[in-house]
């Protein structure tokens, strides 16, 4: 009866598709500019900048994943750093193996194992010399952990801050575990000194460019995937979980599986982000699992605008971009600036940076965000 009732919200508006395509293309062009133009040329993009953007894209992917559970489902995770790190470690294992005998001890074992007198790989390192197996681990380890943890937590109906705090406990426990040298993941130093990936020199500009493009592809792909999910009916169910879980149960949905689905998906995306991060920054160590790191991810999402998918990406770039800039330009004062930014955004930009854009847009169109009450229909009845 009503043409306005679309069977499914459109994935993106036409304008949004165009914007996405343009941004993706520009981003994809950066490594080319780096490779093609010599340093000093006006169009040259330095490897430093390229590395920075690549790193931020990994953060953005993690933030996107977090938004899926927090923004849309109302599950605030203070432990996503764990999934990020696990993805990173899974990939890191391959990279460590790929060092081969080029380590300082020229052993087939990574240096830290030699030095702890380990004679062979522990069982959980089995097959990690295979790249594809490690890629599988990148997905499986965070995924399975999230699934199991989530299953028990959601089944017990742990909610709100209780859930947030136990995710924090989880990542904290994992951090302590990984800090132990006996655990077999390099302790405090973690994995570093990578040499090659799939046979290619990991520091070669071309390798970097490829890693960059892969990261970009994952980020854009994940954005589309998440958008597809939240515009589906499942997306509405998720928001129902966020707003009134009990109501949802009384109309016949089992929140457990919905939560578990996004939670696990989110963990996997976060793991992938970590896996992409490690070869590009060259180190993974347990401090990625510290409580503060996970909270920072939440901050990216909030600053960008939660429940918007694009917002967290913007947030990750903004916060980290500012951080990179501030730490170099105002090394003594940058925390004041960043702290103030967080406060001001919370106070004056309730819906984050993206919300600000929307408000501005609304202001320009002079149409209030809140549609007026339509009394007509009442009269008609």
């Amino acid at each position: 009866m009503n043409a306005r009732i679309a069977s499914r919200k459109s994935l993106f508006s036409r304008r949004a598709w165009t914007a996405l395509a343009v941004v993706t293309m520009v981003a994809a062009a950066l490594p080319l500019l780096n490779l093609v133009f010599p340093a000093g040329h006006a169009l040259h993009i330095s490897s430093y900048v390229l590395g920075l953007v690549a790193k931020f894209m990994c953060f953005a992917l993690a933030a996107l994943a977090l938004d899926l559970v927090w923004g849309y489902t109302g599950i605030l995770s203070l432990g996503h750093g764990l999934f990020f790190a696990l993805g990173g470690y899974a990939h890191g294992m391959y990279l460590m193996r790929a060092i081969g005998r080029d380590g300082v001890y020229q052993s087939h074992l990574p240096d830290f194992m030699v030095f702890l007198d380990w004679k062979e790989y522990p069982w959980y390192w089995a097959m990690t010399d295979n790249f594809w197996y490690c890629m599988l681990l990148v997905v499986l380890v965070p995924g399975v952990l999230a699934f199991v943890f989530g299953y028990f937590a959601f089944r017990s109906r742990i909610k709100g801050v209780y859930f947030s705090i136990i995710t924090q406990a989880l990542t904290y426990a994992a951090m302590l575990l990984f800090f132990r040298n006996d655990t077999g993941f390099g302790g405090n130093n973690g994995f570093t000194d990578f040499k090659r990936i799939l046979g290619f020199d990991i520091t070669a500009p071309a390798t970097r460019a490829v890693l960059y493009i892969v990261t970009l592809a994952f980020l854009v792909g994940a954005l589309v995937l998440c958008r597809w999910i939240v515009t589906s009916r499942l997306g509405r169910v998720l928001q129902g979980v966020r707003d009134s879980e009990s109501r949802l149960m009384f109309i016949g949905y089992d929140p457990l599986w919905f939560k578990l689905f996004v939670w696990t998906l989110s963990a996997v995306l976060c793991g992938i982000a970590g896996a992409l991060y490690v070869p590009q920054v060259g180190i993974i160590n347990p401090s990625e699992m510290s409580a503060a790191n996970s909270i920072e991810m939440v901050v990216w999402v909030a600053i960008g605008g939660r429940g918007t998918l694009v917002g967290p990406i913007v947030g990750a770039f903004t916060v980290n971009g500012l951080k990179s800039w501030f730490t170099a330009s105002f090394p003594d004062l940058w925390l004041f600036a960043l702290g103030l930014l967080f406060i001001l955004v919370t106070l004056f930009m309730r819906k984050g940076i993206l919300g600000l854009f929307e408000d501005l847009k609304a202001l320009r169109r002079k149409t209030p965000a809140d549609a007026p009450v339509e009394e007509k229909s009442k009269e008609a009845a």
Partner: protein
């Protein structure tokens, strides 16, 4: 409206709901005390009783929100409600309207109805679900019925109290449950709205089994017609019978109607 018998629900004995010897106690206080109650298929049953008699608690037991301390609750012959979770019960065909309206405030009216709609409510089907034109028609007709057509794109949180009540009733109808539980459906509704609700219930009579809790005696009289009215008091049945019988019952007057 849908067929009364859903696959799996066994109502061969004519009753759709059996509560026997249900007791619910909170820290020693018995909100429900050895309550026995049956509802037949297609029946519209009114439940009245003093504040705190245990009416809402009884609905909580039926919908899985509260576990009975003892006693059994069966939906048809084959669903043991005491062992089922809220969503299993909802899925099995019991729908409920709460005493205070609860809708998804951040969703539009339309989305509220869509979510409530009868369908496979597991993860995968939900992810790939598309609205068929029949379903759209269904939603549109419900919208008209609850007089929120034209407001389907408003957020439910912006509706007035009475409108939310209606929306919740609409969601209930979208669910197509076999047993509908209504906890004070006309509380806060204007007299005209109340009359319309009564009308609606009279229409639904026979198509669904319905249990209504209300304190508005005019309304109850209107919908009870010649059917049974149950009076709860201190957690058990105090009286049962036609409305006029109940209203004349001295004990009911004492504890409930007043003089």
């Amino acid at each position: 409206m849908s067929a009364l018998k859903r696959e799996g629900l066994d109502t061969t004995h004519g009753a759709i709901l059996y509560l026997s010897d249900i007791t619910v106690s909170f820290d020693g206080f018995r909100a429900i005390n050895k309550l026995n109650l049956d509802i037949s298929v297609g029946e519209l049953r009114c439940i009245i009783g003093p504040n705190g008699a245990g009416k809402t608690t009884m609905m909580d037991v039926i919908t899985g929100k509260t576990r009975p301390t003892s006693g059994t609750a069966f939906f048809g012959q084959n669903y043991d409600l005491a062992t089922m979770t809220e969503y299993e019960i909802a899925h099995a065909g019991i729908g409920r309207k709460f005493q205070r309206p609860t809708v998804f405030e951040q969703h539009t009216v339309f989305e509220n109805l869509e979510l409530a709609m009868k369908m496979d409510k597991r993860v995968r089907p939900t992810l790939f679900a598309r609205l068929t034109s029949e379903q759209e028609d269904k939603i549109a007709s419900i919208l008209r019925l609850i007089r929120l057509n034209g407001q389907e794109d408003r957020l439910a949180g912006l509706l007035s109290h009475g409108q939310k009540q209606w929306l919740e009733i609409g969601m209930l109808l979208m669910q197509e449950p076999q047993l509908i539980l209504l906890d004070e459906p006309v509380a806060g509704m204007s007299d005209a709205e109340t009359a319309r609700t009564a009308e609606l219930l009279n229409e639904l009579r026979g198509k669904h089994s319905i249990m209504v809790v209300e304190h508005d005696m005019g309304f109850v009289t209107e919908i009870a017609q010649q059917g049974k009215v149950t009076v709860l008091h201190e957690g058990s049945v105090l009286a049962e019978g036609r409305m006029d019988q109940v209203q004349a019952d001295e004990r009911v007057i004492d504890v409930y109607l007043g003089r």
